[in-house]
């Protein structure tokens, strides 16, 4: 009986194919920072190569050709072939199938506004990183991350008053947004994988704010004014237009 060894080889092939598939469809952008994409690709090909080598070995080896472990006779009472040790037990195979089942049967979805409420990751206006490089980008070309970096790197936020901005993000609101005219245009930054996702955003003032569904993606164009927000001098984007837009192919920003 080598069903389990065959299943093991198949599982590696399928996991490898799944990794390559998320890369090809671009869904990988929902999970990890793009600078690790090549690593997922290498992992995919490695899994497929391992699977193929195992299949070849299974085809070319005799059924029960291997000696039992001399020093540890009671460790694997249920394993007819010790060639694969504990690793080919059914429960191990079942556990390793879980990522495949989640990946294949659940629709891939990036983190959204719900993830902020739930994990309690407060958005911060103090995201680190190279603040200086944000200044070298033309204001209308800056994304949410560039602006947040620029705000924290600036000696005084007053210098942002009157600057134009053109931003894409999802709509987020919490208790600090008292009236129906404010929301935040928000993005997640992902340094490594979604486990370290941090939500950041720019506060927007718009008459349309009340009609916007939380978590929906919008493109906001307008000019900054520096005002008090929750007791702090904060650049607030006064919207000239807010239009619904499709979620970008890469929903997260990669610092």
């Amino acid at each position: 009986m080598r069903t389990r060894q065959w299943f093991q080889a198949a599982l590696m092939l399928l996991l490898g194919l799944y990794l390559l598939e998320t890369l090809l469809t671009g869904e990988i952008a929902y999970y990890i920072n793009e600078r690790f994409n090549w690593l997922a690709g290498v992992a995919g090909f490695t899994l497929i190569a391992l699977g193929v080598i195992n299949v070849i070995a299974l085809l070319s080896e005799p059924e029960q050709g291997k000696e039992a472990p001399k020093g540890a006779p009671n460790l694997l009472p249920n394993a007819p072939s010790v060639a694969h040790g504990v690793s080919a037990r059914w429960y191990v195979l079942a556990i390793l199938s879980v990522p495949l089942i989640f990946g294949v049967f659940l629709p891939a979805q990036p983190l959204g506004a719900a993830a902020i409420n739930n994990s309690g990751v407060a958005f911060s206006l103090n995201v680190s990183g190279a603040g200086d490089q944000a200044f070298s980008i033309t204001p209308t070309q800056r994304n949410v991350l560039d602006w947040v970096r620029a705000f924290s790197a600036a000696t005084s936020v007053d210098e942002f008053g009157g600057q134009p901005a053109d931003l894409i993000g999802f709509v987020y609101r919490d208790v600090r947004f008292e009236d129906d005219t404010e929301f935040m245009v928000t993005r997640f930054t992902v340094s490594c994988c979604v486990a370290d996702a941090v939500a950041i955003g720019v506060i927007v003032r718009s008459e349309q704010a009340a009609s916007l569904t939380p978590d929906s993606w919008v493109r906001v164009q307008g000019k900054f004014e520096v005002r008090d927000f929750a007791g702090q001098r904060t650049p607030i984007l006064i919207a000239e237009s807010v239009e619904p837009t499709a979620m970008p192919e890469r929903p997260y920003l990669f610092p």
């Binding site: 694969h84 080919a88 370290d196």
Partner: protein, 309 residues
């Protein structure tokens, strides 16, 4: 919150951590397979310093030779044990390697620049790993600390793939096939702990609130405890945790607490702890969690209270 929303959040986090970590685990198992086939027991005995203290210090620097994070280090350590690496040296390697390697040096440098955090991270990690290695070297019968299965190749049974220690050198082609089959075994054996740990980490991120933990930032000792808890729960790869630590710095966490996060996290987190169980007995794993915890807290709180950068 609706169940479907939570399930979707859980699934995204679970797959995110899994995809990231599985690549590193695979690299670790491939290295492990190559060690199995191409490194002989005599090589280890020949290269390692005779003096136990020197050997443990060497073990904590071995990460510069095998650059692995905490997902990849476990299969490599287990394989080195099968090749006769002393247990205490392996402990020092296991605890230190996820930090003491060129990749982590680069990522910590990228996040914090050359300064107290970078130096502190490497110095404290090295001290902790050597100290814990020395404590483990006091054990008279170190083999008893290991899980029996971790030593199976020594007994001659880790598989079709395991050549006997005295076996003649293989051709490169044969060697690669054997290495691949060893890597397969390791991948499934470690992978089950990785999947369980990933599910736990994703579950905690989805179902627990981190707000209270972050609220502790201002207290010198509680903030270090909070960082240790975050390090354990988040299970972030050591190659990139520096970037996250930087975001904690912006929440007001002091440098000592960040160092607790940066030294404890790579040694101990949910998925690493589960993977340790495939190498060590349960009681030993307990010490391998509690000793780094206490030491990293001690360093972190001491720095918070006494050192101004």
């Amino acid at each position: 919150m609706e169940f479907s929303t939570q399930l979707s959040l859980f699934s995204t986090r679970f797959l995110g951590i899994f995809i990231e970590a599985v690549s590193f685990l695979l690299l670790g198992t491939i290295v492990s397979g190559l060690i199995e086939v191409f490194v002989r027991k005599e090589d280890i005995a020949r290269l390692l310093p005779r003096n136990p203290f020197a050997a443990i210090v060497a073990g904590s620097f071995l990460g510069f030779l095998f650059p692995v994070c905490e997902c990849g280090v476990v299969p490599v350590t287990r394989k080195l044990y099968q090749k006769g690496l002393p247990v205490a040296v392996g402990v020092a390697f296991l605890l230190a390697a996820p930090v003491m390697n060129p990749i982590v040096f680069a990522s910590t440098y990228a996040a914090f620049g050359f300064g107290p955090i970078l130096i502190g991270r490497f110095v404290i990690t090295c001290i902790m790993a050597v100290a814990i290695g020395l404590i483990f070297s006091l054990q008279r019968n170190p083999i008893k600390m290991l899980h029996p299965r971790a030593l199976m190749a020594m007994a001659g049974g880790s598989g079709a793939a395991a050549p006997q220690p005295s076996a003649p050198r293989l051709s490169v082609g044969q060697g690669i096939v054997r290495a691949a089959r060893v890597a397969t075994d390791e991948f499934f054996d470690m992978g089950r702990y990785l999947v369980m740990g990933t599910a736990l980490a994703a579950g905690m991120q989805t179902f627990l609130s981190q707000e209270q933990i972050r609220a502790l930032a201002s207290d010198p000792s509680m903030s270090a405890v909070a960082m240790a808890i975050m390090a354990f729960v988040l299970s972030i790869c050591s190659t990139t945790d520096a970037i996250l630590a930087l975001s904690f710095a912006n929440f007001g966490f002091p440098s000592g607490s960040l160092l607790t996060f940066l030294t404890f996290g790579p040694m101990v987190d949910i998925k690493a702890t589960l993977m340790y169980l495939s190498v060590f007995k349960r009681r030993v794993v307990f010490y391998m969690v509690i000793l780094p915890l206490l030491m990293s807290l001690l360093f972190g709180i001491f720095i918070n209270l006494n050192v101004r950068f």
